[in-house]
Structures are given as C-alpha cells and as structure tokens.
C-alpha cells in the first residue's frame, strides 16, 4: 500500500462518518421533536450538527493529498457521465454545501421549521448518494478483490456504525455542556440522553453483527478472488485481528455497557464514558479495516 492511500482512508472514513452522523442525528431529532417538541430536540442536537461540518471538510481536504496535481482538482467532476469517482466528488461537495446551508439555517433558526426539514432531508439523501457513489468507485470489473456486493455493504455499515457512535459521543458532550449550567438529572434532556444512548447501544451491537457476518464472507471471497487473501491472512493478519478485537470491544461489549448504564437512572455519567470509549475504539477499528481494504488491492504486476 502506498502512503498516499492514507489520505483516502481518512477521506472515506470521515466522509462516511459525516453522512452517518447526519442521518442518525436527523432521525433522533425527528423522533424527539415529535414527542417532546422542537425546542428540546434543538437543544439536544444543534451543537452536534455543527460538529459534522468540520469533520466532512477535514475529509475533503485529506482527499486532496491523494492527488498528484491538486491544482487541477476542479477537473475531477469532468466525467460525471461515466466515472463514479466524478460522481463521488460531486455528491461529496453537494453534501457539504446543502448540509452546510441547512446547518447554518438551523443554527440561526432561519426559515420555517418545515423548510429546514426539507433541506435536511435533501442533504441526507445526497449524503446517502455519496456513500453509494463511494462504494461504486471500487466496483471495478478488473479488480476482483473489490468487485463484490460486500464493498457497498461494508461501506454502509461503517457509515451507520460510526454515525451512531459519533452522534452518541456528541450527545454526551452536549449534555455535559448543558449540565454545567444546570446540574442534576431533573430536566427532559437527561431523559432524552438516556433513551437515545440506550438505542445507540443496541444499534451498535446490531451493526457489529452485520460486520461479523460480512467479514468472514469477505475473507472467503478474497482468498478465492486473488492472492490478496494470503496477504491479509499473512503479513496483515495482526492488523486484522486488532481491528476485529477493537470492533468487538467497542461496538459489542462497550455498546452493551452503554445500554446497561443508560437504562438505569443516575448512571448517565458512566453511560457517557462508555459511549466515548465505544466511539474511540470503533473509529480506530474502522480506520484499520479501511487500511486493509486498500492494502488488499496489491496492484498488477505486468
């Protein structure tokens, strides 16, 4: 694997995390607003929303380091008719712009709530198109190790797993911020945090389940598709084991701890700490997994 591929690891992970966070945050906001009113929902999610922008921008900047000639970068959307890479860049920028406009309007409460909801829905759809394009970039008929349905499945799993856990961590940070002004677990935010975290704990366990179904299939597929399977089983086997252990600990065990602490009153702090730790472990695990994904394309030796 070339060092320049690290910029792609960062870009794809950060962009997928942004899309996942945006979608998960949108779902949580929608459900909370319906039950507890828009004001409580905004208090809970506005700060988290503002955190997504910098993550996405960081990812887009990282992608530029992948280019040999970044000065020409504007050409990258020159082949939308046939290149999934063009479509990826285009939807990435579109997601940043539409999501950014929405975040600004939501922050300043510009426009009506329904106008903002419509814009958010549009941004979320563009985000999902981005992840779809991103996985299609790797479905090359000449690269057997990538050209399977497992690529989009794993990209979308990463998107929602990181999205859920990043959103959980952001809620915990937001709650800690609100607590400084208003200590104790007397208000609606405390109840909402516990409820949301318990669902995020469950979701992360379910998504881990998906990963643990996909991964063995992927390894079997790899060993049949090319010698890359041996590479993953050989020189990178340590990385693979570390990635799996971190995913299991983070999304599985820590996810369960988040759930356990979130369902009992008065244990918000513990639930929050487990949520932070789960996010950190899964983030590292996903980065290692993406590294292996790129490393599995060993190049052509002609």
């Amino acid at each position: 694997m070339n060092t320049h591929d690290w910029s792609l690891v960062l870009f794809t992970i950060l962009a997928q995390m942004s899309v996942g966070s945006f979608v998960v945050l949108g779902i949580v906001h929608f459900l909370v607003a319906r039950k507890h009113g828009a004001e409580e929902a905004d208090r809970m999610s506005d700060r988290a929303l503002l955190a997504i922008g910098p993550v996405l921008v960081l990812g887009l900047i990282a992608s530029l380091f992948h280019l040999g000639n970044p000065l020409n970068a504007y050409n990258a959307i020159g082949n939308l008719g046939s290149s999934w890479l063009s479509r990826e860049i285009f939807s990435g920028v579109a997601f940043a712009v539409v999501g950014g406009v929405f975040a600004f309007m939501q922050w300043r409460k510009l426009g009506s709530a329904s106008q903002r909801n419509l814009l958010a829905l549009l941004a979320a759809l563009i985000g999902l198109v981005l992840v779809y394009s991103m996985s299609n970039v790797y479905l090359l008929r000449t690269v057997a190790v990538w050209d399977s349905v497992l690529t989009p499945v794993s990209f979308f799993t990463t998107t929602f797993l990181l999205g859920a856990l990043a959103t959980g961590a952001a809620f915990v940070a937001n709650y800690a911020y609100l607590q400084r002004k208003n200590p104790g677990c007397a208000d609606a935010q405390c109840v909402l945090l516990r409820k949301t975290l318990s669902w995020i704990g469950i979701s992360s366990i379910v998504l881990l389940g998906v990963e643990f179904v996909v991964l063995p299939l992927y390894l079997v597929y790899l060993s049949s598709a090319s010698s890359a399977g041996n590479l993953i089983a050989g020189s990178y086997s340590t990385v693979l084991v570390v990635r799996l252990v971190l995913a299991f600990l983070g999304a599985g065990l820590f996810g369960a701890m988040v759930y356990r602490n979130a369902v009992s009153v008065g244990r918000e702090k513990a639930a929050g700490n487990w949520a932070y730790a789960a996010f950190a472990l899964v983030l590292i695990s996903e980065i290692l997994g993406r590294f292996l994904f790129y490393a599995s394309h060993t190049g052509f030796s002609l």
């Binding site: 040999g68 000639n69 990258a76 082949n79 290149s83 890479l85 860049i89 090359l140």
Partner: protein
C-alpha cells in the same frame, strides 16, 4: 482510415531481451520507474522423482516465456471509463491518449487498468502512458518498440487485419481475460503458453531498476 490501431506480439519468437522497453524509454525520455512497454516473464512446472530411482529428480513440464505489453488501446478501455477528469480519451483511430494538462494525478486509472499501462510520474504529478508513437505514425513511421525488436516479435496495424493475419488470441498468462477490456492485441502464443485464467505458473520477472 484506421478504425482500431493494435499491437501484435509473437510470444513464440520473443526472447525477452527488452530492446522494445529500452527503445520506448529512450524515445519518450521516460524516467526511472516508468516503462510504457514492459516485458514480463511467466513460468512454471515442477520436478518429479525418476520412476527407476526416486532419489533422482527429473524436470517435468518446466516452462518459461516472455510477454511484451504496452498499452493495448482497448476497445472497451476501463481507464477512459473511470477517469474523473476525462483526461483519458480514445481517439477515432482507437488510440487511447492522456491529456496530461487535465490530469489530477488521482491514479484511479492505475488501479483499474489490468495491464499497468497508465503510469504515475511523481515529479510531474500526473499519469503518463503509451501513445502508440503517434508522431512517428503521422510521418509514416512505426512505433519505436516495433522497429527495435530484434526477433521481429512485434507488429502493429489495423486490428481486423492483424486478426486475419495472426489469429484471434489476445489473452495468454499472465495477461487478464480479454473480456474485461477487449484489448486491441493479437498474440501468437508461445508453445508452452497457458491461456488466461488457466495458468499453473507464476510471474518470474526478476526485480530490476529502470
């Protein structure tokens, strides 16, 4: 008017001397690490115990041959399909060329091409590739690799004519299946050549700098 320019390679004549690689490198002033034409050696087979004396080993099916490949200017080029900038295009005569002034150096074509034809020039930050010596062709000349081949193992011309003259093989090991990109390439197989996908050998090219 040419519809699809193509290369012909005679694996039964090639001795792996790499004069084609050197001629191409010289003509196009290619830096170390970039070779628009490459010679890959492929070999296999094994040793078996002598039936009369099992402590003795006899050679069995040991084979090796060389394959000289540049860009195959494919009929279904994946590089032009995936290039995000449309810097990679297929001309009317079938030659696939890159406009380096448009290229962003993302190296996506390098990932996609199973022949390693597009190659990254780190100093310039862009991809480079074989252009079929189009300047030579315009003046009635031949591609340098073809002219330089001491074994007369290389030829070029209109694909349909080469097919009529030399047959329709275009995928021997270690080349990928021709279905992927439909290379404008005609090959006369070496007598030990194995067809793509049915190979029992491996690439045995020695590492070298150049």
């Amino acid at each position: 008017m040419t519809e699809q320019m193509a290369f012909y390679f005679d694996a039964s004549a090639c001795n792996g001397c790499k004069a084609c690689v050197v001629a191409c490198k010289s003509k196009n002033q290619l830096p170390v690490g970039i070779n628009w034409r490459r010679v890959t050696e492929y070999g296999g087979g094994s040793w078996v115990p002598d039936a009369d004396d099992p402590t003795r080993l006899l050679p069995n099916n040991i084979f090796a041959y060389a394959v000289s490949i540049s860009c195959n200017h494919c009929e279904k080029p994946i590089c032009t399909e995936v290039c995000p900038t449309a810097a990679m295009t297929k001309r009317e005569d079938g030659i696939v060329v890159i406009d380096e002034s448009k290229c962003i150096g993302c190296r996506y074509c390098e990932w996609a091409c199973p022949y390693s034809a597009p190659q990254f020039d780190a100093a310039a930050g862009v991809m480079t590739k074989c252009d079929f010596c189009q300047d030579e062709l315009a003046q009635g000349g031949s591609p340098y690799c073809v002219s330089a081949c001491v074994m007369r193992a290389l030829d070029y011309g209109e694909l349909s004519e080469l097919r009529a003259k030399y047959g329709d093989v275009s995928a021997i090991e270690p080349l990928p299946s021709a279905d992927l990109t439909e290379p404008a390439l005609v090959v006369t197989p070496h007598r030990h050549a194995q067809m793509s996908g049915a190979g029992t050998g491996r690439i045995i090219t020695m590492a070298e700098e150049g």
